[in-house]
């Protein structure tokens, strides 16, 4: 076929392709020159002294939200407040009294990773950190 080389409606096609490339490369130009290192949650002195959380660190890192959800359901629905950890220790199932007792600063601990991973748990709609000023 003659004119195989010609691109029809060249302007519109090129504009469309430019938009495509700009949209698809969003992560590259949006973060250009931005190192964005992974956050380091601050472990408070009290937490350091305790050495161990209610469960091993790796478990807590990945599954703390599930554990807290289970705690809430157990406390609210079954009125059971005692949690026995994998190492046999007993804990009071309470976000405010147990978790935040060690991890004193929500902004320096919880929020660090939550903000980085764009997670907005609705825990904090009830469990208000009194030290936090908005």
């Amino acid at each position: 076929m003659p004119n195989k080389k010609k691109i029809y409606d060249k302007g519109a096609v090129l504009v469309g392709l430019c938009i495509f490339v700009i949209v698809i490369t969003f992560p590259f130009w949006f973060n250009f020159g931005n190192a964005a290192p992974a956050p380091e949650p601050k472990i408070s002195d009290k937490a350091k002294a305790a050495k161990e959380c209610v469960m091993p660190k790796e478990y807590m890192k990945m599954e703390h939200m599930q554990l807290l959800n289970e705690w809430r359901d157990t406390v609210v629905r079954d009125a059971k407040r005692i949690f026995v950890s994998s190492s046999g220790k007993e804990f009071n199932m309470s976000l405010t009294n147990t978790c935040l007792d060690c991890h004193v600063e929500k902004a320096e601990f919880c929020d660090k990773c939550h903000n980085y991973a764009s997670v907005t748990p609705y825990c904090w709609e009830c469990h208000i950190d009194p030290k936090e000023t908005k």
Partner: protein, 345 residues
């Protein structure tokens, strides 16, 4: 159970195993985490552009008025300016509604024989509904993934994620889009399996993307709700890809690499497959053209100058013989030098 479906299923299972096992080998994480994704993205972008340019080289000579509305004609006849647009604005609205709400699929009908031999055309909206559900949720899922590729995360991404999880079921919150995506994919697959005509026309290239996207959704849901993954580690890794300082974060786990490998395969496969309808829909000649045949002349772009032999030229060439044969001519023989010598003899 037919061969096209089996081939695709086996292919996706093999891809799963390749990534799952491969990542455990030395250097596997670098290969599946850094080399393959970058390569796939380059193939995707270049392949996509190449395919579009290739299509743009095909001439569309005339307006194709496959419309569903009255064309603009006499002043007292009401035209349908969206379904039969005569302006660029109308075309933009028609294209927008087509791309965003799949209007032409909404007109889908089913042909069937009823009460013996009565032919009937029935309302058929399920395909439209589920493909709309699939495309939209896939887009939402993709859009939500920008939280791994941007720092700080744009507010819009956070808003979409929040709306998506507004049921507040469990922790991590159940994302509605993930569930709908998987359900819609399964519907689209079962449709090909259970409707005999669909099964007959379905090829391996129809099943493969379905299985692949099912695999992507499945591994994603698995990581979020069941096997769990170190999400901060994942973001550290994806951000390193986005800032071109790639490095592997330890201990992310094989399922993540399977997920990433599936996505890479989808990207690399995209420009060579029917999935190119993403770009192709913008080039649908029946949707993106102003229907102005009646008042604007469109010249066939591949017309070339044709050498014509007019009747005048023909008569000039054969006038003599025509007169001789007694045929009528428009112009009589003016001077008759060749005939004169004959008369003398």
């Amino acid at each position: 159970m037919n061969i096209s479906y089996m081939y695709s299923l086996v292919a996706v299972i093999v891809l799963f195993l390749v990534a799952y096992v491969g990542v455990m080998l030395p250097g596997g994480e670098v290969f599946f985490g850094i080399i393959i994704p970058y390569l796939a993205l380059v193939i995707f972008i270049l392949g996509f552009i190449n395919r579009i340019i290739d299509w743009a080289r095909s001439p569309v000579p005339f307006r194709i008025p496959t419309t569903c509305g009255q064309e603009k004609s006499l002043p007292w006849i009401k035209p349908n300016s969206i379904d039969n647009p005569t302006t660029i604005g109308g075309v933009i609205i028609r294209m927008f509604l087509e791309i965003v709400f799949f209007r032409s699929l909404f007109r889908n009908t089913k042909m069937a024989l009823k009460e013996g031999d009565k032919l009937s055309y029935e309302w058929e909206k399920w395909l439209w509904l589920f493909s709309l559900a699939f495309h939209w949720t896939f887009f939402v899922v993709l859009f939500r993934h920008l939280r791994f590729f941007s720092e700080p995360v744009p507010a819009l991404v956070e808003l979409v994620a929040k709306l998506d999880g507004f049921l507040q079921i469990g922790l991590p919150e159940l994302r509605i889009s993930g569930v709908v995506l998987l359900a819609a994919l399964i519907f689209l697959f079962l449709r090909r399996i259970y409707i005999p005509q669909m099964r007959y026309i379905s090829l391996a290239s129809d099943y493969f993307p379905l299985f692949l996207i099912i695999g992507i959704a499945f591994t994603g849901i698995l990581m979020r709700y069941f096997t769990k993954v170190d999400i901060v580690g994942v973001k550290e890794f994806t951000m390193s890809l986005a800032t071109f300082k790639p490095h592997i974060t330890e201990g992310i786990g094989s399922i993540f690499y399977v997920h990433l490998f599936f996505v890479s395969v989808l990207l690399a496969y995209f420009p060579f497959s029917k999935l190119m309808h993403l770009g192709g829909i913008f080039m649908s000649p029946t949707r993106n053209m102003v229907n102005n045949n009646r008042f604007k002349r469109h010249i066939n772009p591949w017309n070339y100058p044709v050498k014509v032999h007019t009747y005048e030229a023909y008569e000039d060439e054969f006038r003599e013989k025509m007169v001789e044969a007694g045929l009528r001519v428009d112009k009589p023989l003016a001077a008759k030098p060749p005939e004169e010598p004959e008369e003398k003899e």
